[in-house]
Symmetry: C2
Subunit: 323 residues, 2 copies
């Protein structure tokens, strides 16, 4: 009887490895800095950390159903191939499923980190009981996952879900992806902070300047969130614009896919109470009658462990389907 699952959240900054039970509970966990490693040594470090958890908990590898990995980047889910990984220079077209299986001996399943997070939220978090769900993660970029009939929708190349690269204006600002007017070019962390600093340089008044000790370079989303909580109208206004841009992209998705629920997660969703209102407002302005009446907005619930919980869920679902 397989009782455990290994969940790995291969983040751009931190790599988290956890042992979970079949009910998605984290039994034991380890974390290290991702950027200390190159490709091969990172795979070995994950395997070593897993062995460490196995020893520490006095459990056995044969009791594991498998190992799930969530990766930020484009993943060929079927082949377990990771096309690129943001922070690791020699990471290109890595057959992660095959290499990780070779080194751990476990069945391995690899997916995009937002898809993994969506699986976790769907099973144990804000998405419980829902089948038609959109997930949006707000951080450096704006990632997305599309859930149809309770499953991750992957598209022709398992590349579906790029909500951050839906254009919201035909002639909008340049985006990292090479296009113009993408949602991410408004709400990606660096784009947003640049816009905030531009406003302050032009003379806007805000307590966030003092909170950053007078240095614009010290302004972070967290400081802006705290400023908004203190009632700072500049910060509230900037979060409002942030939310309205998101609302525009989501209104299009609501009309196109008629989802029941939109789950918002990621680092920048710390400002949820300042952005949820404006997001809803634009969905109500722009989406169609029946679609907007149905769709609900919710904040992701699983927080820091979402990545490993989702990665473990990936194993359960794939194993159940004999994938």
């Amino acid at each position: 009887m397989k009782r455990y699952i290994a969940g790995v959240d291969l983040g751009a900054t931190h790599t988290k490895i956890a042992v979970l039970d079949l009910r998605g509970r984290v039994l034991s966990k380890d974390t290290f800095l991702t950027k200390k490693y190159r490709k091969d040594s990172l795979i070995k470090a994950v395997a070593a950390a897993l062995n460490g958890l196995i020893d520490k908990n006095k459990i056995q590898k044969k009791d594991f159903l498998g190992l799930g990995i969530g990766v930020p980047g484009l993943v060929d889910f079927k082949r377990g191939l990771v096309f690129y990984f943001v922070n690791i220079p020699d990471w290109k077209n890595v057959p992660l499923k095959k290499e990780m299986r070779g080194i751990t001996g476990l069945p391995v399943f690899v997916d995009n980190d937002v898809n993994a997070m969506a699986l976790g939220e769907l099973r144990f978090g804000a998405g419980k009981g829902h089948k038609e769900v959109i997930c949006l993660t707000l951080g450096t970029g704006a990632g997305g996952a599309v859930v149809t009939d309770g499953r991750i929708y992957r598209g022709a190349d398992t590349a579906a879900g790029e909500i951050g690269h839906i254009p919201i204006n035909e002639n909008g600002p340049l985006c990292n992806c090479g296009s113009r007017g993408c949602l991410e070019a408004y709400v990606g962390k660096d784009y947003f902070l640049k816009d905030v600093k531009r406003g302050l340089r032009k003379g806007a008044k805000s307590i966030v300047i003092n909170m950053a000790h007078g240095r614009l370079s010290g302004i972070t989303p967290e400081l802006l969130q705290r400023a908004a909580e203190k009632g700072d109208s500049f910060a509230i206004g900037k979060w409002r614009e942030y939310g309205r841009h998101i609302g525009s992209a989501l209104a299009g998705i609501v009309n196109l896919l008629n989802p029941e629920l939109i789950i918002i997660g990621g680092g920048m969703s710390g400002a949820y109470r300042h952005i949820a209102g404006p997001i809803r407002e634009v969905i109500d302005e722009k989406a169609m009658r029946i679609q907007k009446k149905t769709v609900k907005l919710a904040r992701a619930k699983l927080g820091n462990d979402a990545g490993v919980i989702g990665a473990a869920e990936l194993v359960k679902i794939s194993a159940a389907r004999g994938a």
Copy 2:
């Protein structure tokens, strides 16, 4: 052994009734003007036309697998409920499945006309052999259908597919639906013609003015298409703008859903050779590397019979699933 299917295309202008075989071939067909009827008389007229075809072809009702109907408007596919019908004033929340079954005695399946058309194209037309497909119909409005894993994707309220109401600019022109910047507010027939006339009133030169005998009110999409075919640079430019707006909405869908194929149909797709290039151009500018490499663009193939063929396919698919 059921050998026939009845397909009904309940169009805003014409209603078409056809008897088809199980391979989607139209054996016999009848057409009448929709707007001559109110709700109850329209349902009776469809039943009478079907009886006429049955008598004329010396076949029997018991040999029919069922009756499929495509309707322009919002349809609850599961219940066979049509929320509204554009041209018929007393048509509101009509349980068309139930009423039509009562009057014909056949199993009845009702769907949105674009979903029906998509089913037809998928089985017999441009979509043959594809599973991840987007259909866009260009006419008075811009309708859409989303096909995932070879099936129509319907969403939570069977209201999915509203491609025409994806916003392509946050502060774009007003749309009939009450929102701003929807794709339809650029490419719906009346919006497009208004923009064309505005250009001509401002003094743009074009042979289309002579083709309409000097009357701007006489300009139609067909005339603009013929002007473009004759090399008229104003007409070519307007179709180019038309195609680029469509490309913007489709680029977002390509990034979100990673489809294999986009099928373009409807009356305005007569200008396909003048819009396909600009559509492709914007997808190549705005969509992501893997998604845009995969996606193909195709013109709908079934033409005038697409509606009845699709409606018949709806019966086959639903009957096969025991729906």
